[in-house]
Point group: C2
Chain length 357, copies 2
């Protein structure tokens, strides 16, 4: 993705690995400052997923793949069964970091297959290095193809609502929901984006807006409460969001608030598109309601991150000190509210999603 740094444009990926260190764009620091975070062991990598230094299903998937490779490199010793035990623990540590993102499990299971191919630690490391790099490259290519496919759904000057950040920052590059918008913009279609701020963590106003600025795409931030109003006024032509998990029946698990926007879009006859790679499909779950929904710390609701006059991020309380909060991080959008699912292989009705990876 393009990043404007001191007036020049540089190319970055959200996450990458060099030797045994995993580097990632430090997302809680955005939009105040652009900073790279380096993790030198898989436990720190799991914590960086948990703390959302890296977030977004495809980005977490790639980080998980690199994390497995990192865990293999970390192993000291030459006993292969000890190595396997170490790797099982590492898989658990990394999978536990975010229970909802299916991409994370998918990527880790893919890496497991590499380990199964050999009984040599050295070869396992080498296979994992190659496989995790391929995973990141293929993930990027899948997002690019999602963009190419989804771009066809965007007309000249389409006014598009998006929720949360399903952009390059949520992937290795390109994004899922933002990929079609990015490509439509490159093709001169001049899309306009309404960016839901996406409380509590404001991935919309902090990250999606930041990405759109890098790409010079016109946008307005709105509070999550305003999306329905704009839909009813006829100011939104289509909605595109990402997905953390899509179950066999086409239900979509995504950032809290997605369900609200989908119901409102249907009520106002506005197409509601979900853009996601096939790695997001969870064929083991029949419906979205089988998925465990992560409830995060109430402090995300009771406090707000903000940028002070010195361009530093500060945490300020926005509720009475006696108040409690509930903080479900995701919700389930039943398939009936979804117009189409845009994947790297094509565009599907939610009831007819492709049946294998």
């Amino acid at each position: 993705m393009k990043v404007k740094i001191n007036g020049t444009m540089e190319e970055y990926r959200t996450v990458w690995m060099t030797d045994s260190v995993i580097y990632m764009i430090n997302q809680p620091k955005l939009p105040a400052c652009f900073q790279i975070y380096g993790s030198d062991n898989h436990r720190k990598t799991a914590k960086s997923i948990k703390d959302m230094i890296v977030r977004g299903a495809p980005a977490i998937g790639a980080t998980g793949a690199f994390g497995i490779t990192q865990a293999a490199i970390e192993f000291k010793g030459d006993d292969f069964s000890c190595f396997l035990r170490h790797m099982e623990e590492a898989k658990k540590t990394l999978k536990d970091a975010r229970p909802t993102a299916y991409d994370l499990f998918y990527a880790i299971d893919k890496m497991s297959e590499e380990i199964d191919k050999t009984s040599s630690i050295k070869e396992a490391i080498s296979l994992l290095q190659e496989a995790s790099l391929n995973y990141a490259n293929e993930s990027t290519e899948r997002c690019r193809l999602i963009g190419v496919n989804g771009e066809k759904l965007i007309r000249d000057s389409s006014r598009i609502l998006t929720h949360c950040n399903a952009g390059a920052l949520g992937c290795v590059d390109y994004g899922t929901a933002l990929a079609p918008i990015r490509i439509a913009n490159d093709n001169g279609k001049k899309p306009f984006v309404f960016v839901d701020e996406t409380r509590p963590r404001c991935q919309g106003s902090r990250l999606t807006a930041w990405e759109l600025i890098q790409e010079d795409i016109s946008h307005s931030i709105i509070v999550d409460n305003a999306a329905g109003y704009l839909m009813r006024k006829g100011e939104i032509d289509l909605v595109i969001v990402g997905a953390d998990r899509i179950t066999s029946n086409g239900d979509v698990i995504n950032k809290i608030g997605t369900y609200e926007k989908a119901v409102l879009a249907k009520e106002n006859n506005i197409p509601f598109y979900v853009a996601a790679p096939k790695s997001t499909f969870d064929y083991n779950s029949k419906t979205g309601d089988e998925t465990e929904i992560e409830e995060r710390s109430e402090d995300e609701v009771l406090y707000m991150w903000g940028i002070d006059s010195d361009n530093r991020l500060n945490n300020v309380r926005i509720a009475p000190k006696e108040s409690k909060a509930r903080n479900p991080a995701f919700d389930v959008t039943p398939a009936k509210y979804i117009s189409k699912i845009i994947t790297e292989e094509g565009i599907y009705n939610p009831q007819e999603i492709p049946t294998k990876h």
Copy 2:
């Protein structure tokens, strides 16, 4: 309303007038600190409405009534036609402070009728003093009756969603949406309240939560995005909100996001109640879509007020400095999404609202 101050309980109204000074609870300072703001002239009073030191339709109405009285007291001279011109200007200044709240227009027009009764400035002042005090007292009584009527819709341990602040702080006392909850709690029904934080100004997490603490009513703050999730999970039994304006056909104009919650409630078969005094009814408008919707400063979206470690309110930016925002302050909820309208005179279907004041 009860206010806990240093361990003791004191009784307050949101707005009151003593001699020529209008006093109001300084709402932007809440919940960090409880402070009274005094305005000694009607222009300052209009500004206090515009700046939302006082907010909520019934509270703005009473403030408008007091503001007219204040403008009359301010007048220097003895020419009655000059007085009338001065009063016309004052009416305009006060009405212009918030274009959407119908109560404000209603209260000011009520005060006008008093001026029409006399051709003596002294008598006009005296009539206005009595009428504005009566207006505030009657407004309080209307809210109490809304509470008594609405309480019947609440069962033991009902889990109630409310949006924005339609509590005592939005009225002279009692509140509209919160009045039934307050009375249900007094009657031992133990209601539980989910408080929508209500971005952008967070009247829910700042004001409604603060009021519920004063009354010892159990509650959880949620981000606006989470209401639909909780409805779908069956964790919300009913919704009660206030109204800034109700048009002849039963459409409700209220805080941005109300429309979203109403659509979601209907989709999930949850009753959606609007609690408002009859002064909120705008018989001059056939439908809600005729109402001008105020768009407020984009800074309300791009910045967030928070309480720092010294218990001071600070403004922090939560979006990239290059980003713009849209900030509609209200929306229109069509009558078809509303189960009942709770007034001081009884409970009505939105299609059958009472036809005169």
